[in-house]
Symmetry: C2
Subunit: 370 residues, 2 copies
DNA sequence: TCAGGCATTGCACGGTTGTGCATGGGAAGT
DNA sequence: ACTTCCCATGCACAACCGTGCAATGCCTGA
């Protein structure tokens, strides 16, 4: 068994066998290779089987290279029989491009981020890239560790879906000529895709006021990510600019529990409950609606209008029917990849921004007045 | 500008410059390299700056290698100044292990799968591997294309979260010595992690009967994935073994809409509605509950008891409070990685199975009798 | 002071692929 | 039939990194 493989190997890589043939070491080494590691088919083996040189194999799998149909056919058949696939790693080492692209995200399983990372992965694969999902924490050390993994593997670019990287992150990427695209966070030094948070907040405020609502609240979170923050400040500003006031309540993260906390905060204060709440995202809205309906006995939208943000699939569920601002994950992924391609084509240009204005989706939790 | 970079390059890689210096071609090539490709720092450049040989640099970054503290310090400083990181691609080419591990999933953003893929990614990173997320369709061609990407990049292993790969998939992996671990699907030829679907179904049936329920239904889907199928057949068998009958309704996929469809199917038939429904997963249960409550005016659990499967976070939401079987994504990821490590250590062994028995989580949608 | 041993370092090679260059052969034109 | 040209193919080297082997230098002990 071992000897068969050994013979096979040394036939495949003659020079290696001759070089190492000193005192039985060869057998040891090859045995280890065949048992412990993987044994991928190499271009050399295909060449031998097809009776051509290794260059011919390489050219067969290089688009636009000059190979005769006859040898091409021989090579393809030998490759098929052996199950050969070009080693993209070695190809990457050669011309310094790995096709790897990093997606850095915190909690990529939750809410809109799940859809965004999935859309990114799908789009990158279609483009011929290889998406690497780095699921990491928010802290600077963790982000830097993620970056080191990606640089170590010579990733072509990094897409940051969440988290706020330290300056050293960008410095490191820049020095290695590695483009960085951020989604949802405005970083002056990096390309980024941004949702039109302030436009949406403005629209929500105008519609609620126009529908005759008067007691306003904003349900946000203390995680203070830029997108959440922008929605809050823009909504408060828009309401106050029209002469009304807004109560702002915040949970810890930006999830369902945050919505519970926010609603209960509003109920705890000795004031009439709001008749219109704009939530920083859909998950918060669901938590808030559940508390308002089940614990305060309110009706939505008769007693209180609720507007969310993101349009995750649950917004369409019968129980919620949430009016919200649609963020299209495919569109955002598309823009991110566009930015990335433009940056690769022109590494020296100034940072670029893609801004996507979310469109409101009307459901039962609030319908604007005619 | 271009000339500066060119000088820089040729200083860094003298031999290359000399070799290629024939008729101005050098400038062209280097210009292209510096503008179009990335320019990572190589060990050679660090060696030059530190005034040592390239081997010394390599040894500095190889744990357990023999380097004097003095040169080590020089190398580390030069590496720091240049922003050097070991090229894991080239390292992988050398000893035939890339640290890349593929996660193949269909719709990785939805339901329990989102949690599972996220847990896998986190665990693989902690282990020092690099998770590649292949978001692909269910068809055989798409799965095969995913596999080709992974083999091309010499991924060490593939973890299949969803989808039913063709036989050629396993053949290809086997021939390349690439371990395949499947989650949730029993494949006779591959290692897999499996949830104890039949045990859970049995437990659900027994508890519902013991609580005095008599009109049973199972809400599944026509996607016919093995896990869904196993839950259905085991539940039906368990109920019928005790002398009762079960109505089985199915939607298209295994999501919320499927629950809507299932519930409306039950309502359309001219029979009394069931007083106990076991759902193939939580999402189906949510859809079913929404229809039963909002369209049929039923109360849960008084009129109908509902049990789900997976325990996604929404099961704890106030509006649902769903009794369900908990699948721990971290535990499943842990087992998958365990399988993988055992397979790498012993490539020739027989296929192995890790079976995880889900634990029931009691909430308001059904409480068993004392 | 000399010799021996040990630690360290440089050299060259292994493992992949792509590609410039030279060459050989076949086809076509005269 | 000879010459010319072009296409294809093999050779060698580029790009990375780790590591065995040999040599060198330093330190210590006698």
């Amino acid at each position: 068994m071992g000897s068969t493989i050994e013979a096979d190997r040394s036939a495949g890589a003659l020079s290696a066998a001759i070089y190492h043939a000193s005192g039985g070491e060869l057998v040891m080494k090859n045995d280890k290779v065949s048992s412990n590691r993987m044994r991928f088919v190499s271009a050399e083996q295909v060449a031998q089987r097809a009776g051509v040189s290794r260059s011919a194999v390489s050219r067969t799998f290089t688009p636009g290279a000059s190979v005769s149909p006859a040898t091409r056919e021989k090579v393809l058949q030998a490759a098929e029989e052996l199950g050969y696939h070009v080693n993209d790693l070695a190809r990457g080492v050669l011309n310094n491009q790995s096709r790897l692209i990093g997606i850095v995200a915190t909690k990529p399983e939750v809410g809109f981020r799940a859809h965004l990372t999935a859309a990114l992965a799908k789009m990158l694969i279609q483009r011929g890239s290889v998406p690497v999902l780095i699921n990491t924490g928010e802290t600077e050390e963790e982000l830097l560790a993620a970056q080191k993994i990606l640089i170590g593997h010579r990733a072509e670019a990094t897409i940051i879906v969440s988290g706020s990287p330290p300056a050293s992150f960008f410095e490191l990427a820049k020095r290695n000529g590695q483009p960085v695209v951020m989604i949802g966070r405005a970083e002056p030094d990096a390309d980024h895709v941004q949702a039109g948070n302030s436009e949406a907040s403005e629209q929500a405020a105008a519609a609620l006021i126009h529908a005759g609502r008067r007691r306003f609240a904003f349900a946000g979170s203390n995680s203070r990510t830029p997108a959440i923050l922008e929605r809050e400040t823009a909504f408060v500003a828009a309401i106050e600019a029209r002469g009304f006031s807004v109560r702002v309540v915040r949970g810890r993260d930006s999830d369902y529990d945050s919505g519970l906390v926010a609603a209960r905060q509003l109920m705890a204060e000795r004031q009439p409950l709001p008749d219109a709440v704009f939530c920083a995202n859909d998950l918060i809205a669901f938590g808030l609606m559940d508390v308002f309906r089940l614990e305060a006995g309110l009706r939505v939208p008769q007693d209180v209008a609720v507007i969310g943000f993101d349009d995750v699939p649950q917004s369409g569920w019968l129980n919620y029917r949430l009016t919200t601002f649609r963020q299209d994950p495919d569109a955002m992924a598309r823009r991110a990849v566009d930015l990335l391609e433009r940056r690769v084509a022109n590494p020296e240009g100034a940072p670029d921004v893609e801004r996507i204005i979310p469109r409101i989706v009307l459901r039962d939790s609030f319908r604007p007045a005619e």
